[in-house]
Amino acid sequence: MSTYILKRLLQGIPTFFGVTIIAFLMMLSAPGDPIALITYNPTREDPAVTESLRRKLGLDEPPFVQYIYWLVGNDWTKIDMDGDGEGDTYGERKGLLRGDLGQSLKHRRPVSELLIEKIPATLLLTFSALIVGYSMGIFLGILAAINHKTWVDQMVRIISVMGNSVPQFWLGLILIIIFSVQLNILPMSGMRDITRRSGGIDMIETAKHMLLPVLVLSLGTIAFISRFTRAGLLEVFEQDFVRTAKSKGIANRRVWWIHALPNALLPVATFIGPALGTLLAGAVIVEKVFSWPGMGRLVVDGVFNRDYPLVMGSVVVASLMFIVGVLISDILYAWLDPRIRFK
């Protein structure tokens, strides 16, 4: 088992570097001079000052060196501040691998600090959606498989197809119109107030704020997982060991819960990782609809402000969360199903 985990960890490394390369290439291909974004008005600045800023940030270096600086920092090498070709002082950047994602251009604060502030809210949203999506999805899937070819099965199928094809933000808007504007029973936004309020967190109030966003975000997962569980169960029902169990005279209920379900649910476990990725992306949209104070809104605002360090940092962190999610679900799967380990 530990060799399997080690192997998967090692496989994650080239992927992570790939992600950093993509993020860096995008940052590099962005039009406009980064200095102009920092100083607002480059024409009024002293050319000598911008020049030394450029050197300090390493922007005079070729792309490959810039990438290395971004990745591992430049505090281990002397950088040339006055342009005479010799290193003068040590750099100040620690680099991505040591948790330094650079300074946000807009907020003038370290990107890592901004992200740490916002990530809990996003994780709260995505993990609630993951739990709701999985439990509802598995429940509906079982319901459909047990009642195969009845109206229940059809209903679940309709829910699943509809859940896949409705635009999340539109559903969010419609739910806001119904529950917040017309019926006035749920708040349409304002999660921010709760996270900022000092003292204890009011559970009921929080739940009220979470209900709609989590429901909207989890719908895709519910749709997918219910379909997958249903198909898996129907397939397992056909297999010999289930028939044997039935012919031994074991009660139907016992056959379903003890023999069929664990086997049908095995593959469902592998989708926790990919589902997490979908949810992280979906959260960007849902956070905007419900003004949820998470990472998604930070990124969208960063995109509009051309705050590249912030955006690149968020991409790397979001991908890292995704890679770790996939890793955990793979390990979980290998732990549940020993056949995988020995492949």
């Binding site: 790939g18 094809s165 539109w170 949209i285 990124v299 955006v311 979001a318 991908s319 995704f322």
Partner: protein, 309 residues
């Protein structure tokens, strides 16, 4: 009244018996013709496409409307108002004509981006699966990497860097969307490569490119077509999501997505502006998915691809 003699029964039996030479595609068409749900979905998609392609000039002429004519005094008219069947938006523009023009852009993006996605994905999948070796390693690495970044994040950045027109958006969507197809095709090719008829073809000296084009490609085509309809549906959702975030196709060009973005600010006054574009998106995506499902049933009777999605 006809008399059933042994000979006529025999003839009738012969007619009913499945022809030996009926191909996978003929079978599939027969299957779809008997599948009412898929037929309906296809019909709705067809009508929707035709309406969006041919509709705008017609409606403009008949109702004497112009897609970009701003008419502030008549803003937020409800559906059914005189001259505006589906009402007007916050600038007094007619919603019906904007929906038709928006559909044109949204559907054009969905169709062309899905075709491009498939072209890239299939080509790279075939190369990677068939030739293997270094090139396979490279393509697999790109695929794993690209699929480890939540795609929306990449699209967001790309869209922010190059403010997209519809054409640029199509290219971006295709460049970031091909990985799933590539992985799928690669898997299929790896399985096909070991089959006897491929080995036989290679044994008699058929060139590699010919093996790929005439023996492997036709066998991955069914799954590719199924994937393409699903992707087209997905793309409509992605386009609307990007527009909603403000990085999609920019105003004044209407798309179903950015019509909703505008409507969002006025949902108190103009609920009809929220409802209609959303319903059109949902129905179109639903139809794409249903067609995909129907094709899967028709092209894959054994159901071996059921769980691959």
């Amino acid at each position: 009244m006809t008399v059933t003699t042994p000979t006529t029964t025999l003839l009738k039996l012969e007619e009913d018996a499945p022809q030996k030479t009926r191909s996978l595609w003929q079978n599939a068409i027969r299957h779809i013709l008997g599948d009412k749900l898929t037929l309906t979905a296809l019909l709705v998609l067809g009508i929707m496409t035709l309406l969006c392609v041919l509709g705008p000039p017609l409606v403009e002429n008949v109702l004497e409307l112009d897609v970009n004519r701003v008419d502030i005094p008549n803003k937020f008219l409800s559906p059914g108002a005189e001259g505006h069947i589906l009402g007007t938006d916050h600038l007094g523009r007619d919603q019906l004509i904007r929906l038709l023009y928006g559909g044109r852009v949204s559907l054009a993006i969905a169709y062309s981006a899905s075709v491009m996605t498939i072209l890239i994905g299939v080509t790279l999948g075939l190369i990677s699966g068939f030739y293997g070796g270094r090139i396979d390693d490279l393509i697999t690495w790109v695929v794993t990497t690209l699929s480890s970044v939540p795609a929306l994040f990449l699209l967001l950045i790309a869209a922010a860097i190059w403010t997209p027109s519809a054409k640029l958006l199509i290219i971006l969507l295709a460049l970031l969307g091909w990985v799933g197809t590539c992985r799928l095709v690669r898997g299929e090719v790896l399985a096909l490569k070991e089959r006897e008829y491929i080995l036989a073809a290679q044994a008699v000296g058929v060139s590699n490119s010919r093996v790929v084009i005439s023996h492997i490609l036709p066998n991955v085509l069914p799954i590719v077509i199924i994937t393409m309809t699903i992707i087209a549906g997905n793309l409509i959702l992605v386009e609307s999501g990007l527009s909603f975030l403000g990085v999609g196709v920019q105003a004044p060009t209407p798309t179903w997505g950015n019509m909703l973005t505008d409507a969002r600010s006025y949902f108190n006054i103009g609920t009809h502006l929220v409802i209609w574009p959303g319903i059109l998106i949902m129905v179109t995506v639903l139809c794409f998915y249903l067609v995909g499902d129907g094709l899967r049933d028709a092209l894959d009777p054994r159901g071996s691809w059921r769980l691959t999605e």
